[in-house]
């Protein structure tokens, strides 16, 4: 693989799509199939890892542009005031 870096989600999934398509249609040599498969697994792992990364967090951006954790009262159904 000349370029093993993965730019972002969209790039990863685009490449993964292309690989799957190639594997599905192409009359590829076994060796190439395996290389593609390996890359595909790598891409798919990347996506899953990124999915796990998102953090469960709620923040409030105040007028000075600072981020503060949101009060718990926001998570209840009734308006706090």
């Amino acid at each position: 693989m000349p370029d093993t870096s993965i730019k972002d989600f969209e790039a990863a999934i685009g490449e993964l799509e292309a690989i799957v398509k190639k594997l599905e249609e192409g009359d590829l040599a076994l060796e190439q199939s395996l290389v593609l498969y390996e890359r595909g697994v790598q891409l798919s792992r990347f996506c899953h890892a990124r999915l796990e990364e998102a953090e469960r967090r709620i923040e409030i951006l105040n007028e000075r542009g600072e981020l503060r954790p949101a009060p718990d009262s926001l998570m209840t159904d009734e308006p706090g005031r």
């Binding site: 989600f9 969209e10 999934i13 993964l16 799509e17 690989i19 799957v20 594997l23 599905e24 590829l28 040599a29 076994l30 060796e31 199939s33 395996l34 593609l36 498969y37 595909g40 697994v41 798919s44 996506c47 899953h48 990124r50 999915l51 796990e52 990364e53 998102a54 953090e55 469960r56 967090r57 709620i58 923040e59 409030i60 951006l61 007028e63 542009g65 981020l67 949101a70 926001l74 998570m75 209840t76 159904d77 009734e78 308006p79 706090g80 005031r81």
Partner: protein
């Protein structure tokens, strides 16, 4: 003298909003010649007293804003017209933009411009006839922004497939923020929200929303923004019809979802936003479903990747087997042989992995066996033997019982050893290959030659096989039978 009405249609008047105090009116004798000014002043006083507050309906024409900010125009109907002015201070409060041809109802007072002897309507307020002022304002702004291309489909950006940080501009006191959080909590547990609070109702709402949009656009990582509020009257939702909000939405560098009021409420913000959600909850659902679609897409691709690779390998190895199974094709160079080599390499790799696993298991078994004999069993037996010797001649019966027990223990240990036997793994699909007379287990392909017979022990039954070719693990080139 007031220059209030000074040539409103010819040159710019001074920025004076109130007429000067009236001159004292002289008492009228039986025959008194008035000066022009005196008459004019009296006319003015009469008019101003009589028409202190009037409502006049008419059509706007000759609308013109001087750079003092006052708007001069003519109010007319089919047969008459009256010159009119609305001062900047009042003009500011009009939601719509007065324009020629509009039919309006004007509220104001009549006054006289003395230098010209002209009377004029000084308006306090204008409202569009028929349409409400707000609705007209809405139509006007919509038309203007549309002409600028702010609503063009080409400007609409797709929502991010996997939103990492969701920006929200709304009030912390309303139901909207709670609705959004509730949906996200339920369907996107690890969502990261950044809320920029803004008043969403009242005079200051529009500039605050615009400010919040600018602020949230600067938070690193925010990749989609929801702006909105819960339901209310058209006045309550008005901020979302203001130009500052529309322009702020257009300038947010990431996709914006507008979510104002209920299903039926449509605001200017909805036209400018990249996507309109009928309600705040629906906006949250939009974000989540983009994420769900993305996850499903990855899962599908992952599955397809596996099955495609697997079936590719299978079909290749099937073909290799079919071809190489025919003696006539054996050893034929070229593509087929190349494929055969790849297949051989693959099966070698598999075999290596299996061998490594087997070897590790074998090592463990041997270790356990060693432990059993050296410590457990050895010590026990030794102890028994010592005691046996010591007790010999005295407690033969007791010793015999102990010996029986030791034998029983030995038996159970042997049983455990048996389950660790390499042969037990045959049940899991492994096979043991022997040389022709079953005196030796085959560990190295080099110890047999093409044409040799090998015996293979399976979990159930035996095979007698003929070696067609062998592959050296170092050189990996098949040596086939000639």
């Amino acid at each position: 003298m007031s220059d209030l009405f000074d040539l409103p249609f010819e040159e710019e008047p001074e920025d004076v909003e109130e007429p000067a105090p009236t001159l004292p009116v002289p008492s009228l004798p039986s025959r008194r010649v008035l000066t022009v000014t005196e008459l004019t002043v009296r006319v003015r006083d009469l008019l101003e007293a009589e028409f202190f507050e009037v409502w006049v309906e008419g059509e706007l024409s000759n609308c013109r804003v001087w750079n003092t900010g006052h708007l001069y125009f003519t109010l007319k109907d089919g047969s008459s017209q009256i010159r009119s002015v609305i001062f900047r201070s009042a003009l500011r409060y009009l939601k719509f933009k007065p324009a020629d041809g509009l039919r309006v109802v004007a509220r104001g007072r009549v006054s006289v411009y003395e230098p010209k002897g002209e009377y004029q309507l000084v308006c306090e307020h204008l409202e569009p006839h028929g349409l409400g002022a707000l609705q007209l304002a809405f139509e006007q702004l919509k038309k203007r922004l549309q002409a600028e291309g702010l609503f063009d489909a080409a400007r609409k950006r797709p929502l991010p497939s996997f939103p990492r940080k969701i920006g929200i501009v709304t009030s912390l006191d309303g139901a909207a923020i709670r609705d959004i959080i509730k949906v996200l909590r339920r369907r996107y547990a690890n969502a990261h929200l950044v809320i920029c609070p803004a008043r969403v109702q009242g005079e200051d709402a529009a500039p605050e929303i615009a400010r919040a949009l600018r602020q949230i656009a600067r938070v690193p990582g925010v990749d989609v923004v929801i702006v909105g509020r819960g339901g209310g009257s058209i006045e309550d939702l008005w901020a979302f019809n203001e130009e500052v909000v529309a322009r702020a939405i257009a300038r947010v560098p990431v996709p914006v979802i507008s979510a104002v009021g209920h299903e039926t409420d449509v605001t200017i913000a909805d036209f400018v936003a990249d996507q309109r959600a009928p309600t705040p909850s629906a906006a949250a659902e939009l974000v989540v479903s983009a994420k769900d679609d993305f996850l499903a897409r990855i899962a599908r691709l992952h599955g397809r990747l596996h099955s495609a690779a697997h079936s590719r390998v299978q079909s290749l190895s099937r073909r290799v087997h079919v071809v190489t199974a025919r003696p006539a094709f054996a050893g034929v160079p070229g593509r087929v042989a190349m494929r055969g080599r790849h297949a051989a390499e693959l099966s070698h790799a598999l075999a290596r992995v299996m061998r490594a696993g087997l070897a590790a298991r074998e090592r463990r078994r041997q270790q356990i066996e060693r432990q059993l004999t050296t410590f457990d069993l050895g010590r026990r037996l030794a102890g028994i033997r010592t005691r046996l010797v010591g007790a010999e001649g005295r407690l033969t019966g007791a010793v015999r019982r102990r010996q029986h027990r030791a034998e029983a223990q030995l038996g159970s240990v042997a049983g455990r050893l048996d389950t660790l036997s390499p042969l037990a793994v045959l049940g899991r699909g492994y096979a043991v290959a022997w040389n022709a007379d079953r005196t030796r287990v085959l560990r190295d392909a080099a110890t047999v030659a093409p044409g040799d017979t090998v015996q293979v022990t399976l979990a159930s039954g035996e095979l007698e096989c003929e070696v067609r070719s062998t592959v050296d693990s170092t050189q990996r080139t098949p040596r086939t039978q000639r």
